[in-house]
């Protein structure tokens, strides 16, 4: 089963890569844009922390590591789930019918049907940078392990969000802004959620678990997360996945196949 789906994913990704690589000028513009945006925010943090020394009780390197962890989760989910951004026309035109009749899990197709080569290019340097800054914090082996597990938990929550967005698109035909709102919300995780005041901080930690996705892994690694916080993080990961799948199944019952 896993082998079959991996083969299909690889095939769909290759098609998607070919389509993007066929438009080299557009690809280079998006790539330059993404790199420029990353560098500029990085420089902003660097000069800000040069002036202030620390932020919300975290050192300069710790703050940059928070930002790199955010970027890693953000870029990887965009790489895997780029197809979500193209779901609206499928719903509006009724082309989703063609997905439903195929002997393939429909959710898998619309969630992972078009990996983004532009994001793939940016992942390796980002991983290297994250390792470099992570090592500079001198973490313990157990800290690194829990960081990685919580990072996977963060990806799980991000996946749940994308499934919920797809379900929302079926129910309302609106996806463009929904996915951008998700991006804006996760953008609040560029820095530790500790900088926000209540109730926004609680909202970002528990209701829309941006903090759990991006802040908790780093806090666990540097030893400032509690055991209870880590348990809550894993519970949020499992719960968000269960809820989003439930929402997806509900949304499928509302699909009207309009315009087809």
């Amino acid at each position: 089963m896993f082998k079959k789906y991996f083969k299909i994913w690889w095939m769909m990704s290759r098609n998607s890569f070919s389509a993007v690589l066929g438009q080299k000028l557009a690809l280079s513009m998006f790539l330059v844009g993404k790199i420029f945006r990353f560098i500029f925010f990085f420089l902003f943090l660097y000069f800000l922390l040069k002036g202030t020394g620390s932020l919300a009780g975290y050192s300069g390197n710790q703050i940059i590591f928070f930002f790199l962890t955010f970027s890693l989760v953000d870029v990887t989910t965009q790489f895997l789930f780029r197809e979500v951004y193209k779901f609206r026309p499928m719903i509006i035109k009724g082309d989703f019918d063609l997905v439903l009749v195929k002997p393939l899990n429909a959710l898998f197709r619309v969630l992972m049907g078009g990996a983004d080569v532009i994001d793939l290019i940016t992942i390796p340097p980002l991983v290297v940078l994250t390792i470099v800054y992570g090592v500079s914090l001198h973490p313990m082996m157990s800290g690194v392990l829990i960081y990685l597990i919580l990072l996977i938990n963060g990806f799980l929550i991000a996946t749940a969000f994308h499934i919920a967005i797809l379900a929302f698109a079926i129910v309302t035909t609106e996806v463009d802004h929904a996915v951008m709102i998700y991006r804006d919300l996760t953008n609040l995780g560029r820095l530790p959620v500790d900088i926000y005041k209540e109730p926004l901080k609680g909202f970002l930690t528990y209701l829309i678990p941006v903090g759990i996705m991006m802040t908790t892994p780093v806090k666990a690694m540097i030893g400032s997360a509690s055991v209870l916080g880590i348990i809550i993080a894993f519970s949020a990961g499992i719960l968000s996945m269960l809820l989003s799948l439930k929402f997806w199944n509900f949304a499928l019952t509302k699909y009207t196949s309009a315009s087809s």
Partner: protein, 267 residues
């Protein structure tokens, strides 16, 4: 003039066609402010702290100022021009007795009015919730200078959008790519939307200030704060006016050349 008034009205009503889209767009604007607001609120948690030439009141006024200035300057519809050019829809306008530039400028103004109304409501709500210290500018001369800088910013952004939208005359497939690079990335980074340009080192500041981008957000807000005055203000306004002139001449040349190669594919 009357026909542009009608375009204004139709365009204004059109914005309400996709209400959910519009509301979600406004929610996005509010959320973007949160990150900026809380970064600076954390940095300046001590009201007596003064770094980068700002104190808590001035920096939080800067953040709230961004909300209004963004609505006035960056709310625009002219990015849709690239689609007209790429799809051949431009032909429909070329045969009508309307000036294409004025048509889109009118649509931009209608978008700005609507966004300004919503931004003002959001401003008041966030102001009541966050209760930031705020600098209410009372100097009439400064307010006038601020308004002049806003007019320049609006025109500069319009010209940038039109120039970008001219690229599909030659390369139709990169309409969105060029908009992403310039309006989503470069404008966001260099206009001062996230932070005041003067926190950067002097050399980098000088380079950025030589581009038209800081005159969209950073310069007007700095003028409002009273941080730029006297000859520096006059000089800044002259640079903004020069950018209007340069971009206008450049757009006219590019647009005329573009029309010559325009083949109305799909139109």
């Amino acid at each position: 003039m009357r026909k542009y008034l009608q375009i204004f009205k139709i365009s204004f009503e059109e914005e309400f066609t996709y209400r959910l889209n519009f509301i979600l767009w406004r929610i996005r604007n509010v959320m973007q402010i949160f990150l900026t607001y809380f970064i600076w609120s954390t940095v300046y948690s001590d009201p007596a702290k003064q770094i980068f030439g700002y104190d808590r009141t001035k920096i939080l006024t800067y953040v709230f100022g961004i909300m209004i200035v963004r609505a006035l300057v960056l709310s625009a519809r002219a990015m849709d021009v690239s689609n007209d050019v790429a799809s051949g829809n431009l032909s429909n306008y070329l045969t009508k007795p309307v000036n294409y530039f004025k048509y889109w400028f009118t649509r931009d103004i209608s978008s700005k009015v609507l966004n300004l109304i919503f931004a003002t409501v959001e401003f008041i709500l966030l102001f009541l919730v966050l209760k930031p210290p705020f600098l209410f500018q009372t100097n009439i001369a400064v307010i006038l200078a601020f308004l002049v800088s806003i007019i320049f910013a609006v025109i500069i952004y319009f010209l940038i959008l039109f120039l970008l939208s001219s690229i599909p005359f030659w390369i139709p497939e990169i309409g969105w790519g060029s908009h992403f690079l310039v309006t989503v990335v470069i404008v966001e980074a260099l206009s001062g939307s996230l932070f005041p340009i003067n926190i950067l080192p002097q050399g980098l500041q000088s380079i950025i200030l030589a581009t038209p981008f800081p005159y969209l957000i950073y310069f007007p807000v700095e003028v409002y704060l009273g941080n730029i005055s006297g000859w520096a203000l006059f000089g800044g306004l002259m640079v903004a006016a020069s950018w209007v002139g340069v971009l206008w001449v450049f757009l006219n040349v590019v647009w005329q050349k573009g029309l010559k190669v325009y083949q109305s594919f799909g139109g």
